[in-house]
């Protein structure tokens, strides 16, 4: 058994709560974050059947505000952010000039001239710097508010009924809030921004608020939800949940060497929008015809293919796994992999080199798991 011990210096505002709860920690982009509290399988199943509470305070929150904020984001990002209404959210990408993916983001329009851009923790600095740079010709300001905003997610089929009962949460319209919509409210006397978004494949909510108030909100949700099966959930379960839901993770499925279409995210790039945007020319030119594309793989048995493992067709290497695990919900190993276009057709039979053993794998559509509507 060999292990890498975390070397970490950034702590969540909820760190003391996690320590008291007996969490195990991992380093994530320089943050000491809970990897699990007790059992990551229990936490995974709780999110699928009841609810899980996640600390995502390591995520980056960057504000773009001003009269030309819409135009600035239409230039800076791949999506058409000017088209979303106040109160709406949009999944988007930041590209570089070569069409590579700098980060995947969720953008909330919080006002006519205000947007909140949520970036991966590992990309917070580069996204903030790029936004500042790309938005500079426009009449707007870019403010990295990551250190002033904590993020708590409640995910699972019972998330809403729990949130509606939490003392102190006052969010008019919460019960009617639609998917990928967000509204402002209060927790006690403090501002609370609630979005119906998530990264688990379940219905759920993400709550943005001041770090000073986050511990009280966490405790209140824990207390209210305990009787409904809510458990605190760490990054290990978050990873298996998002993998089942076919959601990409930056650094695994997405990176600077990947064009959106290769990752199945061509629809996220608004080629029809007016004007130039960073990466447009490269995306219009397209990746080479033989560029590998992202697929789902389903395997038999219990041995999972892991990130970095080779995918083979016969004796030829045709791809590489980017994420893989024994799916807790489905009971068989699943993986996402980049494979040659010829090997990407659903139903193609391939193998994965699992530490020297060739394990059969079939190409299947993503996602692996969808909640019942």
């Amino acid at each position: 058994m060999t292990h890498q011990l975390p070397t970490t210096d950034r702590l969540s505002p909820l760190n003391d709560i996690h320590v008291a709860a007996g969490a195990s920690f991992t380093d994530f982009a320089g943050w000491q974050m809970p990897v699990r509290y007790d059992s990551d399988l229990v936490e995974h199943h709780a999110v699928r059947t009841a609810a899980g509470l996640f600390d995502l305070s390591h995520m980056g929150e960057i504000l773009v505000l001003g009269p030309e904020a819409s135009d600035a984001l239409d230039y800076a990002l791949a999506g058409k952010l000017s088209a979303i209404a106040v109160g709406q959210a949009k999944y988007s990408l930041m590209l570089d000039r070569d069409g590579g993916i700098v980060d995947d983001l969720v953008v909330y329009r919080t006002g006519e001239d205000r947007y909140l851009v949520v970036a991966n923790a590992s990309n917070r600095e580069v996204v903030a710097a790029e936004l500042l740079n790309r938005c500079s010709p426009f009449d707007c300001a870019v403010e990295d508010e990551s250190d002033n905003i904590a993020l708590i997610a409640v995910q699972g089929p019972r998330a809403l009924e729990i949130l509606l009962e939490v003392p102190g949460i006052g969010v008019p319209g919460l019960a009617e809030l639609k998917y990928y919509r967000a509204i402002a409210g209060e927790f006690g006397e403090h501002a609370l921004f609630v979005a119906r978004t998530g990264y688990t494949g379940e219905n759920g909510y993400e709550l943005y608020l001041s770090p000073e108030v986050a511990p009280a909100l966490w405790d209140a949700i824990m207390e209210t939800g305990a009787g409904s099966g809510l458990v605190p959930a760490g990054l290990a379960s978050r990873d298996t949940l998002r993998l089942e839901a076919g959601m990409p993770l930056y650094g695994h499925e997405l990176g600077l060497d990947t064009q959106p279409a290769q990752a199945g995210l061509g629809r996220v790039v608004a080629l029809g929008k007016e004007g130039d945007f960073v990466g447009r020319a490269a995306v219009e030119a397209g990746a080479p015809a033989d560029a590998r594309v992202l697929v789902g793989l389903q395997m038999s048995g219990r041995r999972a293919g892991r990130a970095g493992y080779a995918v083979l067709s016969g004796d030829a290497t045709v791809g590489e796994i980017t994420s893989g695990a024994l799916s807790p919900t489905l009971g068989y190993p699943i993986a996402m992999a980049y494979v040659d276009p010829a090997a990407s057709v659903t139903g193609t039979e391939l193998t994965v080199d699992v530490r020297g053993t060739a394990i059969p794998a079939s190409v299947v559509p993503l996602p692996f798991y969808s909640r019942e509507a």
Binding site: M1, H3, V35, D40, A236, R303, A325
Partner: protein, 123 residues
């Protein structure tokens, strides 16, 4: 279940219970906790000759893969089928029902005491 203080330990977070010329081997609670929920265990078959320090098995969790290193030179006399069938035993009872293999050995290398191992993991 043996007293943890009577076990010997390796730097790879394995424990070894020595009874005459047979060593029972498992991974420590610390290692099991670091791995997370164990979902697959691959162990050497009875009769296999193993060499100290070599990788002889795998312990796989939802998140990662841990390798089982042979702590001694010897011959595997038994591998724990119960753990193969129910890998969660590694988490629920790492020092008891979650044992992994038994090895007949001729010479025992120098292993860590309970106190030394506790100092290593800082717990």
């Amino acid at each position: 279940m043996p007293d943890r203080k009577d076990l010997q330990y390796t730097a790879e977070h394995e424990w070894v219970l020595v009874e005459d010329d047979v060593a029972t081997v498992g991974i420590t609670a610390y290692a099991a906790d670091k791995l997370g929920d164990v979902v697959f265990v691959d162990l050497p078959e009875a009769g296999s000759d193993i060499a100290s320090g070599s990788v002889v098995g795998e312990i796989e969790s939802t998140k990662s893969v841990g390798e089982l290193f042979a702590p001694v030179d010897g011959t595997v006399t038994e591998s724990n089928q119960a753990v193969v069938d129910a890998p969660e035993l590694v988490n629920s009872d790492p020092f008891g029902e979650g044992w992994l293999i038994r090895v007949r050995f001729e010479a025992l290398p120098e292993l860590m005491s309970f106190d030394e191992y506790t100092a290593l993991v800082g717990e």
